[in-house]
Symmetry: C2
Subunit: 339 residues, 2 copies
């Protein structure tokens, strides 16, 4: 910086002004400084800037590796953060790297706020984070701490999906849940409620699962094994998310089960992947871009106004009917075997 100042024949303070795009420098000088800086290859040192200013204007985003929907969210976070003048730093949770480790790394880099995508860590850990700095959680509610919450009305989405399936004539509809994954509890609850509302209490079945392809695969194998023992397949499956739906689809298709003739499958998220599936996954769309936008805005607004309490944004999901759902082959929802 001193070099630039010297070579441009101005003071360091002026260089600072130019680089912050602040008033107080003439047109000509401004251009000269910028040109010289470019020649020298100078870039402002964010560490020093941060230290001097006391603010980093950086948002930390924690996500989980392999969660495709997180990628959709990240894609939406960048533009909104840039619009509001914030930098974004990413840190991933992965096998061998816990969410709290990922979050700590972000804290270490002096992020002013944290955006947690589909956090899966224990409640206490999240509460602690929320108390330490401005935190926004996407898809996972964190009570007892000032943490903003952005999510879709899970219940509404599930209800739409269930009405769709029942409307098609399905009765034996099972749900593969997402364990303690974000949003799972609400989805599970809504599934149960929908089954009851449609008078299908007797058919109600929740299979414990996860938000992974593996979970879909394992469930699929289990269902196929059951079929081989004489238990009829369900006619429809409401998966915990798209990844799970996809794993299930792969097993079923592979095993010669016709989708949607023998089995309808509905996912959740409408992630990038499901967009690209030519098989056309029927799924509940969560608007990733909009969720990301809300998350960033919440963080920035809380940063601007310390007094602001934590808020919640509930977005409307929307059922997207594609190719994996259709009327069951046997109108009454019972397979020939069981009939």
């Amino acid at each position: 910086m001193a070099d630039v100042a010297a070579k441009a024949g101005v003071s360091r303070a002026l260089v600072s002004i130019v680089f912050r795009n602040q008033p107080g420098a003439g047109r000509e000088t401004r251009e000269r400084v910028l040109r010289v800086a470019d020649e020298i290859g100078y870039r402002p040192d964010s560490a020093a800037r941060l230290l001097a200013r006391g603010r980093s204007r950086t948002l930390g985003v924690m996500f989980t590796v392999h969660q495709t929907f997180h990628m959709d969210l990240i894609e939406g976070i960048y533009p909104e953060a840039e619009r509001l003048g914030y930098d974004v730093l990413l840190s991933a949770a992965a096998r061998g790297r816990s969410e709290s480790q990922a979050a700590e790394a972000l804290l270490g880099h002096r992020c002013e706020a944290l955006i947690l995508l589909g956090a899966d860590a224990d409640q206490e850990c999240l509460e602690q984070l929320g108390r330490r700095l401005v935190t926004v959680s996407v898809s996972r509610r964190v009570p007892n701490a000032p943490v903003d919450f952005v999510h879709t009305a899970e219940g509404k989405g599930v209800r739409q999906a269930m009405d769709h399936l029942v409307g098609l004539g399905h009765r034996r509809i099972v749900h593969i849940d997402g364990g303690r994954g974000p949003g799972s509890a609400e989805r599970r609850r809504a599934y149960r409620a929908a089954m009851r509302r449609h008078g299908l209490e007797a058919e109600l079945r929740v299979i414990p699962g996860e938000h992974t392809e593996r979970s879909g695969i394992e469930t699929g194998r289990m269902l196929l094994a059951e079929r081989d023992r004489g238990v009829p397949l369900p006619t429809a499956v409401l998966a915990g998310n798209d990844r799970c739906a996809m794993g299930l689809l792969m097993v079923m298709t592979r095993a010669g089960v016709d989708v949607p003739g023998d089995l309808s499958v509905v996912g959740y998220d409408d992630s990038h992947l499901s967009h690209l599936m030519p098989i056309g996954l029927t799924t509940v769309r969560q608007d990733a871009a909009l969720m990301a936008e809300h998350a960033v805005r919440f963080a920035v607004e809380r940063l601007r106004d310390e007094e602001l309490g934590p808020r919640e944004a509930v977005l409307d999901p929307k059922l997207v009917v594609r190719g994996t759902s259709g009327p069951p082959r046997d109108g009454d929802g019972l397979s020939p075997l069981a009939g």
Copy 2:
């Protein structure tokens, strides 16, 4: 920090020593400082630390959103970086956010070195980065600049895959390439060479593509359309990567094409996704963990020894035969239509 020092009855320098876990402080003092810090809620300010130390001990990693293989790499980068005492910062390229933007963000946060995963930017931009700081590129070669290069012997992998297919009896083997994506050129070249070597020059066909599911889907649709016009399907496809293979598989399965009976499909990467596909994708395995390890090591070693020239690590790929490849239904590799 001053508060901690005062309350613990020591100098600030001593607090610094304690927090850096350096020798020069007594057991008792150390514990006292730590205890006081905990009470006050003090955490060292990394910005100031970084500024004072002149080193950030941070590795910047640029990746592309939705590239599943990058997630596998990231998963491998974290543990190795931690082992060597480095922090990792992630920055994603995405729609609306170019690779150079992603890299700039990393530079702004004072990363000492850059690891580029499957960079796709123009040569000049990469060369410039390489000249500015220690840079390691994974899967994409950057000549004319001191950039380390980690990749697999693409040719070897393709050759194995081709020998496998030809050994099964395939003759009409097409290749969907990865455009100017990392590794594509070598894979394409190796495919051509293999076809020639097996005397299948007449059957040689490269379909332009990308490393995305969409590309596989589009190619699949195109091939099906050709079939409907009387052009026989190939009996085997060597896809540019797993994502592409997957898109293709989805279309084909959906269209009732039996895999591998009517069509064998071979992918490339053995990414997380292909692991999870119950359909068992035959693919060329790239050892993501090992590649990540090399990338981190290269960066750290170059950081330690400025004089070190750029190096190259070539890892051996390995064909993993799973369920999507098998002998063609018609032994001669010609479909009934064409026969």
